[in-house]
């Protein structure tokens, strides 16, 4: 097959770190090429150079035989390179067609554009109504808006950054069909993902980055997911040990927990009932934006629930705030690391005080014992292998994965009786994710009850005893993981609706 984009020795250094070091590989015409790597391996920088957002220090790119040096994204788009970002840049108050028009250099007339959107969405099997307001769309539908915006420009190379992280299994299937169709038409796709099984199923070749270097280019079908993971981290790592054990008494129970949506685009909780026992891990799956954040805030006490809906060790804690719940032994870890679980500009020591103040005895007579607080922060750093110069470092200076280890470790070291955590390994590299999962399992083995809210189904299957799914603020009954398969999970996540119905009427 002919080469579309040839990357030759791309190098980019930032102060203190070489993000890309002499990276070379080729993307053929009509192939899906995976880009794999841990967080901080340099995937984003590489992609930004291809898309004209960052200028390389050295190296060159050749696109279809001609030198390719995009100075800005519009150059890249003109050359036929389009990109779907992980975080969508859409205006919620505008409709689909308006959003698409905003991203185009010369948008056609609204009526023509709507027709084109319909055509493309039918051709590629991406159901989408151009007149819908984006605020009412699911994450999967929003992604379609971004994809269609790219496809309208007839790209030769489509870059997709972690596209499946927000999708249900069924939506993933639809996306894969679209991508396969694009490949068949000769479009090349650069596909960035953490999910190794997915890459094995979809991609023709994969380039693996480690610490900015391209360590291997492989054919994913020929190797196992584990081999790929080990190439990524450059070492072998432990998978969490499966455990069996007696489950104890019910520690946390919610009874038809309902809460109105916190804001215009939030999700209300609708009669969510769950219970979790000592020594048990309850996994809660679901597509992003179906009430995960809201559930965590209700359980942590940030938002108070109506009396009689949340019980901790049989005691009604619905009207107890975060401090009271923490004192009782109910701890939590929110999804958003910067700004929610941690204050970005404050040091790790200060962030240790954020939740550890009372349980760790860091405050005496209203005054903070900074020495002791620093000690606690150092303990978290050491036990959870947080890579940082020290506890005086600002939280925002840590990489996502390291900060995640810190905020999860901070709660685990406080020996909770119940620990609720949202997206515990989001954006964390494979080795660190395994360590965090193991820590959660160890905590359960010591008799704690754990609720893990996650969008990573593999993770939930690996560590949960029982699984429930959130769909538009409703929580499905929990089922033992051993009796589930991917099909059943998909149906639970879709609220047991059939896909098309869910999308047209929701």
């Amino acid at each position: 097959m002919a080469t579309l984009l040839s990357i030759r020795g791309l190098t980019k250094a930032y102060p203190g770190v070489v993000a890309n070091d002499d990276v070379s590989f080729d993307i053929d015409k009509g192939e899906i090429h995976a880009l794999l790597g841990e967080n901080g391996a340099g995937k984003s920088t590489l992609v930004k150079m291809i898309f004209g957002l960052v200028k390389p220090d050295a190296g060159e790119m050749v696109l279809d035989g001609a030198a390719y040096t995009p100075g800005k994204p519009s150059d890249a788009r003109r050359a036929g390179v389009a990109m779907v970002f992980q975080h969508f840049s859409l205006f919620e108050a505008l409709d689909v067609a308006e959003n698409v028009a905003l991203g185009m250099e010369n948008p056609p007339k609204p009526r023509d554009l709507a027709r084109q959107i319909r055509e493309v969405s039918e051709t590629y099997g991406l159901p989408l109504d151009p007149t819908r307001t984006v605020g009412t769309l699911s994450a999967g539908e929003r992604q379609r808006v971004e994809i269609i915006r790219c496809l309208l420009q007839n790209p030769r190379l489509l870059i997709m950054d972690e596209p499946t992280s927000v999708l249900t299994p069924q939506e993933v299937e639809i996306l894969f069909k679209t991508l396969n169709k694009l490949r068949a038409e000769g479009t090349s796709i650069l596909y960035i993902s953490h999910k190794l099984e997915e890459i094995r199923a979809l991609c023709d070749t994969a380039s693996i980055l480690r610490r900015g270097k391209n360590v291997a280019t492989i054919v994913p079908r020929d190797v196992t997911a584990r081999q790929m993971a080990e190439l990524m981290v450059g070492a072998s790592f432990d998978t969490p040990a499966a455990r069996a054990g007696e489950k104890g008494e019910v520690l946390l129970r919610t009874d038809k927990l309902s809460l109105p949506a916190p804001g215009a685009f939030g999700t209300p909780l609708r009669e969510a009932s769950l219970e979790v026992r000592a020594g048990e891990v309850l996994g809660i799956g679901g597509v992003a934006g179906n009430g995960q954040d809201e559930l965590l805030m209700a359980l942590s006490g940030e938002r108070l629930a109506p009396a009689g809906s949340i019980f901790f060790k049989g005691r009604d804690v619905s009207r107890t705030g975060p401090i009271g719940r923490r004192d009782a032994g109910l701890l939590s870890g929110p999804e958003e690391r910067l700004g929610h679980a941690a204050a970005p500009n404050m040091s790790l020591t200060e962030n240790a005080v954020l939740t550890g103040a009372r349980r760790e005895g860091l405050v005496r007579g209203g005054f903070i014992d900074w020495g002791k607080s620093k000690g606690f922060a150092e303990k978290v750093i050491e036990r959870f292998d947080v890579r940082t110069p020290g506890p005086g470092t600002a939280a925002r200076a840590l990489s996502g994965g390291n900060l995640q280890k810190f905020v999860v470790g901070r709660e685990i070291l406080q020996n909770p009786d119940v620990f609720i955590v949202n997206q515990p390994t989001w954006g964390v590299d494979a080795a660190a994710a395994a360590a965090i999962r193991q820590a959660l399992l160890d905590l359960a083995a010591q008799g704690a009850a754990i609720v893990v809210i996650s969008q990573d189904l593999d993770e939930l299957m690996e560590i949960s005893d029982r699984f429930a799914a959130l769909n538009e603020g409703r929580l499905s009954p929990a089922r033992a993981v051993s009796e589930l398969d991917i099909e059943k999970i998909g149906l639970m996540m879709g609220g047991a609706h059939d896909m098309e119905v869910a999308h047209v009427d929701s």
Binding site: G71, H340, A341, A342, A343, P344, M346, G366, F367, R396
Partner: protein, 361 residues
Amino acid sequence: MIRLEKRPQPSRLWTIVTPLLAVVLTMVVGGIMFALLGKPPLEAIRTIFWDPLFHPQFAGYSRPQLLVKAGPLILIAIGLSIGFKAGIWNIGAEGQYIMGAVCGAAVGLAFYPSESVLLFPLMVVAGALGGWAWAMIPAVLKTRFGTNEILVSLMLVYVAENILASASAGWLRSPEGMGFPGSRNFKQWPAVFNDELVANTGMHWGVVAAFIAVIGAYALMARHIQGFNIRLTGEAPRAARFSGVSPVRIVFLCLGISGALAGMAGLFEVTGPAGQITIDFNSGYGFTAIIVAFLGRLHPVGILLAGLLMALTYIGGELAQLMLGLPGASIQLFQGMLLFFLLATDVFTNYRIRFAKGELA
């Protein structure tokens, strides 16, 4: 090409350097302004910054003024800085300052001509309560109805000014004042006169209170859990809620502290340097204190130094008006420049400049 690059963490060095840099830039640009006004720039700057303290003829009078002016500025700015740290923007300290003075004076005058030693402390408490109560209005409206505390507190300044006018012309008017507006003069009532504690230093009870406030604020913000909660609320409101901090309580706490301190400042002023409630009693300390708070980096020690510096520009400005005939507005402009340059150089605390070769597209 010049680019700004975000620092991984705020630079400590620049946190200290920026106020000094701002002062230097203000001197340079201020000097240019004075030159354009046809005045000798170096002499003008020397008159503002040096003569008030060391001029052989005037310093004797102006040196005590330094503490007299700095006292209320520091006291108010300390209160404001606590709120600013939490992201609560009390712009109406001027109003709270007036209400503190009016309430405290009214309580004192109700007991005229008592000679009790308890009266002055009682007036201080009444002054603090007056300022506190005035600050509670934006607090209640913000927490109950989600109004913006910037607008409400600012507009209440003008309400307070009208109350001040009616007090000095009506219900607090001195019965022995021959019908002129203005209350009785506290300087002629030794039991409550807030006189200099040490002659010719300008040191009165308000200055003492300001120093205590500096130490108290330092302990609160650096060591106490409430201070930590205040900073946390300003840095990351969601993280604060996650930690268990009630945003409503922080609003009441911060507005309460700043209102009470501003009210106290008003009381010390009316019983001391001002001497009586008059229609033009307030002289803008409440607004200037905002500059002092930022110039001092919202840090208690910084505010102490900034308050002294600001007081110096006040006294020096008056001196410059007197000696060089500089217009009063140019002095205000000069003070405004200080805040302007501070905010502008502030960017270097979180960003650094990179000089890069021009990138060809």
